[in-house]
């Protein structure tokens, strides 16, 4: 197995990343400074309608959280990627991405013009072009985010389970388009109230 990176990017807090990941790539996302939510969407690179589906993924694995062994599924239950290593332990896919509008609902009107993940998704999707539209922005994965679901059906945002240097590694099961927002949220503990940079690396096995 080659350790040579074909991809090695730092994504600053509040910035994003979009690009294609060839099938077979081992893709690693590293939480450089700890407690950082990484909002991530995957698409079949040949058919953007065949995109990541949080709910199909949850149902098929019979569990809410993502961790080693989780297969990320499309809306058609085609495997996009498999989590092959995870030093964090678990990741959220229920909490979605923050937006200016959801910030108003959750925290009040004063947050209307704060930066948000969906703003980054819009910016990077426009940059990418190729027909990506608002309706293609579906429900995402939040790597390193801790959203416990309790037995009585409650849902809360808690302090991250992550720490500096923790990473998640995925094997691309087909050619992918990946869209990332490195979350700028300041109003809840998902980034430890201090959003920080992440590193995205890819290598060919």
């Amino acid at each position: 197995m080659s350790d040579e990176f074909v991809l090695d990017d730092i994504v600053e807090a509040g910035d994003g990343w979009i690009g294609e990941i060839p099938a077979g790539t081992l893709l690693r996302i590293t939480d450089l400074h700890g407690n950082q939510a990484v909002d991530t969407l995957f698409y079949d690179a040949l058919d953007y309608a065949n995109r990541y589906s949080a709910m199909d993924t949850i149902r098929e694995q019979g569990a809410v959280y993502l961790t080693t062994g989780s297969v990320l599924m499309t809306v058609n239950c085609d495997p996009l990627a498999t989590i092959v290593a995870d030093t964090c332990g678990r990741h959220d896919t229920l909490g979605g991405a923050c937006s200016q509008e959801s910030n108003v609902v959750r925290y009040g009107r004063h947050t209307r013009h704060q930066h948000s993940c969906r703003t980054t998704f819009v910016r990077k999707a426009k940059e990418w072009g190729r027909g990506l539209e608002k309706r293609d922005i579906a429900h995402n994965i939040n790597f390193f985010m801790n959203v416990p679901v309790t037995e009585d059906g409650g849902l809360t945002f808690e302090d991250g389970v992550s720490a500096p240097g923790k990473y998640v590694e995925l094997r691309a099961e087909r050619d992918l388009l990946m869209l990332v927002s490195n979350c700028p949220q300041l109003n809840n503990p998902c980034n430890g109230y201090d959003p920080t940079a992440i590193r995205i690396t890819g290598r060919r096995p």
């Binding site: 953007y48 309608a49 589906s53 949080a54 709910m55 199909d56 949850i58 149902r59 019979g62 569990a63 809410v64 959280y65 961790t67 809306v75 058609n76 239950c77 678990r90 229920l94 909490g95 979605g96 991405a97 937006s99 509008e101 959801s102 108003v104 609902v105 959750r106 009040g108 969906r118 539209e133 608002k134 309706r135 293609d136 579906a138 429900h139 959203v147 679901v149 309790t150 037995e151 059906g153 409650g154 849902l155 809360t156 945002f157």
Partner: protein, 236 residues
């Protein structure tokens, strides 16, 4: 005419417009019914139900009264004003054609006439198509009358709860803006029944009052109240 009632058999799909402040009551016509529902703003279907936003703003992993169902733009699309059940699933999607065939065997109109087994995906996409929408417009659906219980363990294990809904169970939604509603009555994909015997549902549409100052949804959580306020601003 203000109001009407229709029956949708099990395993079928339907779409309807629901004007602001009209109520839609779903009432089961048998045990183990499931209604997979998608919701869009009628005047701009790019605005649609956002399940993660709905759940995280109201700190709940399931749907129950008096939560509002929120769009990606923060507006309350509808309020859940009443239900005989305190748990409706919103996190496990709906059945796909291949899974239905794997589980129940092949089925076609030629062989089974109108009893052929059509998945929720087939029905939802067929109804979406009629409104100029398609696969890219699918969003996480609600599964009314279904409970998928979290074990509360490290993995977040989920289990289908058999017998959660019986005949006559109901849920009422009050539209907070004009809506396009698309639904399927195909069985929930995790429902363990060996035979394909989906229960139907009655849809009762009625004229209702606007939410008052002391409406239970407005008083549920500050986030719920703000979603109602954002919906009301569109008509201010």
């Amino acid at each position: 005419m203000t109001g009407y009632s229709i029956e949708v058999p099990g395993g079928a799909a339907e779409s309807l417009r629901l004007r602001r402040h009209r109520t839609l009551t779903l009432r089961t016509l048998g045990p183990d019914a499931n209604v997979a529902m998608l919701i869009y703003a009628l005047d701009d279907p790019a605005e649609r139900l956002n399940v993660p936003d709905t759940l995280k703003a109201q700190m709940s992993a399931h749907i129950k009264p008096p939560m509002t169902l929120m769009s990606d733009m923060g507006r309350a699309l509808a309020s859940v004003t009443a239900s005989s059940l305190d748990w409706h699933d919103a996190i496990t999607g709906h059945s796909l054609p291949a899974a239905v065939e794997r589980r129940f065997g092949p089925s076609s109109y030629a062989a089974d006439r109108n009893d052929w087994r059509r998945s929720a995906r087939f029905g939802l996409l067929t109804e979406l198509w009629k409104h100029g929408l398609g696969a890219r417009d699918l969003h996480a659906n609600i599964n009314f009358f279904t409970k998928i219980a979290p074990a509360g363990d490290e993995r977040g294990t989920l289990a289908f709860v058999p017998g959660h809904a019986s005949e006559g169970d109901y849920v009422t939604l009050r539209a907070e803006i004009d809506l396009l509603i698309v639904l399927s009555t195909a069985p929930h994909p995790l429902e363990p029944a060996e035979a394909w015997t989906p229960a139907g549902v009655r849809l009762e549409i009625a004229e209702g009052p606007a939410p008052a100052a002391d409406d239970p949804s407005r008083n549920w959580r500050a986030e719920t109240a703000r979603s109602l306020e954002l919906a009301e601003r569109s008509y201010a």
